[in-house]
Symmetry: C2
Subunit: 361 residues, 2 copies
C-alpha cells in the first residue's frame, strides 16, 4: 500500500463514546416522549459519535460522483451503450441530471470526478480530471486494471475528501456513473462475500429478464479467469472492480479517517462500502445507509454490513440520488438534537421517565 492509503486506514478509530452519551442524554430531555423520534434519534447519536460533537452539525454537504467506463460492456451486459457515460458526465457538468436536481434540493454541492471515462472529458466544465486510464479492461478476459491503478483510484477518493475539508464538509455522499458498473459491482460483491454471482446480480439499468443469465455467466467467467483473493479487497477491486468503485472506496475510508459521515447510495456504492470495510472494519460505523435499491445484491451487502436503509423507494438510478435524498433526513436528525426545546427550557410538565421508551411494533 502507499503512504496515503496506509495512513488513512490507520487514522480510522472507533466512534466518540463521550459525545454519543451526551447526545443520548440530551435526546431524553427534549420535549417529546423518550425515543418517540425513532431512528432520527439513533441517527443523531451516531452522528455525534462520528463527528465527536455532542451536538453534531450537518450543514456543509457534498456528493462525490465518480465516473468511469467498463471494458466488460463488450460482453453486452448493459441496456445502454458505453457512450452514455461521457454523455452523462457532460449532463452532470451542465446541471441537468437527477443528482444535480436532488443536490440543489438538499443544498449539497455535486463533485464530479473522471476517474476513468473512456473519452476525452477535458471540455467538461467543473469536472475533476483524475483519469487513471481510459476505462477498465474487459474483466471477462483479463484483470480490469492493475493493483497500482486500483490503489491510485482509491487515493483519488481519499484526496477528494481531504481537498473538500478546507471548504467545510460535514457529510459526504457517494455516487457514480459508469455504463456496465452493476456487472462490476456484482463481481466485487460475489468475490468478497463468496455468494454465487446469481444471488447478487440484477438487471441493472434494465436488461431484459432473458438477458440476465448471460450477465451472470459473464460475472462467473470474470471470477474464474481472474481468481480474485477474497481476503484482499484491493486485489478484488483491481481484477473485477471498476475505477469509480475503487474511488468510492476511497471516499468511505477518507471520510472515516476525518470523522465525516459518508452516506452510501445504491448497489454500486454498496460494493465500494463493502471493500472499504474489508480494508478497515472500524470504517463501518462511519457509513450511513440511505435507500435499498431494486438490485438484489444491495440487500446482501446491507445485511453483511449490518445496516438498515432509511427508505425503499424502488430506486435504481445510482449517481448518488438515494444518498442525496437521505441527506434531508440526516440533517433533520442533527437539527432536532440541537434545536428542540427541553422539558425544562419549555416549561412543559410531565416527567418523560413516566413513559416506557422500549416500544416496538
Amino acid at each position: 500500500m502507499t503512504d496515503l492509503l496506509t495512513r488513512t486506514i490507520a487514522a480510522i478509530t472507533p466512534l466518540d463514546a463521550d459525545a454519543m452519551r451526551a447526545a443520548e442524554a440530551r435526546q431524553l430531555q427534549l420535549t417529546k416522549p423518550p425515543k418517540a423520534l425513532g431512528r432520527l434519534e439513533t441517527l443523531s447519536i451516531q452522528l455525534a459519535g462520528i463527528q465527536g460533537k455532542a451536538q453534531p452539525v450537518i450543514e456543509s454537504k457534498a456528493i462525490a460522483v465518480m465516473a468511469a467506463d467498463h471494458g466488460v460492456t463488450a460482453e453486452g451486459v448493459s441496456a445502454f451503450p458505453a457512450e452514455v457515460t461521457p454523455g452523462m458526465v457532460f449532463n452532470f457538468a451542465a446541471g441537468g441530471a437527477a443528482i444535480n436536481v436532488i443536490g440543489r434540493h438538499v443544498g449539497a454541492r455535486v463533485l464530479v470526478t473522471d476517474v476513468g471515462v473512456n473519452a476525452d472529458l477535458s471540455a467538461a466544465e467543473g469536472v475533476r480530471q483524475k483519469k487513471v486510464r481510459m476505462g477498465t479492461a474487459n474483466m471477462a478476459q483479463e484483470p480490469a486494471m492493475t493493483r497500482e491503478q486500483a490503489v491510485r483510484a482509491i487515493e483519488i477518493g481519499i484526496e477528494l475528501v481531504e481537498e473538500e475539508l478546507g471548504k467545510g464538509l460535514d457529510i459526504i455522499a457517494t455516487g457514480e456513473m459508469g455504463i456496465g458498473n452493476t456487472t462490476a459491482a456484482s463481481a466485487v460483491i460475489a468475490a468478497l462475500t463468496g455468494e454465487p454471482a446469481a444471488t447478487v446480480t440484477g438487471r441493472g439499468t434494465g436488461i431484459s429478464a432473458a438477458a440476465l443469465p448471460a450477465k451472470v455467466a459473464v460475472i462467473e467467467k470474470a471470477l474464474a479467469v481472474n481468481q480474485p483473493d477474497a481476503a484482499d479487497a484491493i486485489d478484488v477491486l483491481a481484477k473485477v472492480g471498476g475505477l469509480e468503485i475503487a474511488a468510492m472506496t476511497g471516499v468511505f475510508l477518507g471520510g472515516a479517517a476525518h470523522r465525516i459521515p459518508v452516506v452510501m447510495d445504491g448497489f454500486i456504492s454498496a460494493a465500494a462500502a463493502l471493500a472499504a470495510v474489508r480494508l478497515c472494519h472500524e470504517c463501518v460505523d462511519y457509513i450511513l445507509p440511505s435507500h435499498v435499491s431494486i438490485e438484489i445484491g444491495h440487500q446482501v451487502v446491507l445485511d453483511e454490513l449490518g445496516l438498515v436503509p432509511l427508505f425503499d423507494l424502488q430506486m435504481r438510478l445510482g449517481e448518488g440520488t438515494g444518498a442525496a435524498l437521505s441527506m434531508s433526513i440526516i440533517e433533520a436528525a442533527a437539527r432536532i438534537l440541537s434545536e428542540m426545546a427541553t422539558f425544562e427550557s419549555a416549561g412543559v410538565a410531565g416527567d418523560p421517565s413516566d413513559a416506557d421508551a422500549e416500544l416496538t411494533r
Copy 2:
C-alpha cells in the same frame, strides 16, 4: 351537513388524467433509464393529477397542527398528564417542538390551531383560536362531543385550507397534539373498520405493556356505550373521536376539494384520513402517505386505504413530524420532473426504450 361541508365534498373530483399522462410521458424523456427513480416518478405523476399541472409545483408548504384535549384521559389511558397538551401548544408557539424544527428544515410554515384544548390559550402567540369546547367529554361514559361540534371541527380544517390558499399553498401536512388521542384514534378506526379494539390499539406515548389491556378495555367500553354508526363517519367522530381528529378530517377534505395534496402523518392522522375517505371516496387520491408509525393501527388504515408509506423510521411522535419530513422527498419528486434534462436537450445517446422498465426486486 352544513353548506360548507356539503359544498366541499361535492367539489372533490377525480385526478386530472391529462396532466398525469403528460407527466408520465415527460418522465420517459428524462436522462435516466425509464422508471429508475421508482416511487419518485409515480409520486410526481400523482402530484400532476392532483394539481392538474403537467409539471406540478411544491414550493409553498404548510403543516396544520390541530390541538385538543380528551376527556377519556380520566380513565388513565396515557403516560403523560393532560396538562402537557397546553404546555406543548406554548412550545409550538415558541418554536421549540420537533415539528417546528422539521418545519423550518423543509421550509414549511407551521399553523397551530386550538380546536379544543382544555385550557385558556389566548396568550399563545400565533395560535389560531378556534376552540369548539374545552376538550371532549369522557367517551367511556358519554359521547365525546355532539354531532354539531364534530361538524364544526371538520369545518375548521376546511377553513384553514381555504384561508391559506390566498397565501400560496402547494401542499399541506396534517399534524396534531392531544394527550389521550391515540385512544380516540383507535376507537375511530375500530368503529369505521369493524376491527377489534385490540387489533388497532398500541401503547401511544409509552404506557407500559401491562397497562395496554386496560386501554383496550376503555376503548371497548366507549364503543359499547356510544354505539357509533360505522356507516356515518361524522357519528363516529362525534361519539368516539376528538376535535383535532375531526379538524384534520376537514384538512383532508378541504385539500382534496382545492386540488392540494394532503400529507398524512402518523396514527392519529390516519384515523382522520380514514374518516375523510368514508365521507368522500375520491378524497383518497389526494392523500399522500408519509411514514408508518409504531402504533399497530396505522398499518391497518394504510392497508384499508391502499397506501404504501414512503419510509419507516420507527417514529411515534405525531405533531405532523413524519409528514413534514416526507415533504422533502415529495418536493424532490416534483423538482425532478420539472428540472431534469431530457435525452434530447442534454444530447445524451441511448434510446431509453431499449431498457425494460418493469423491474421489481
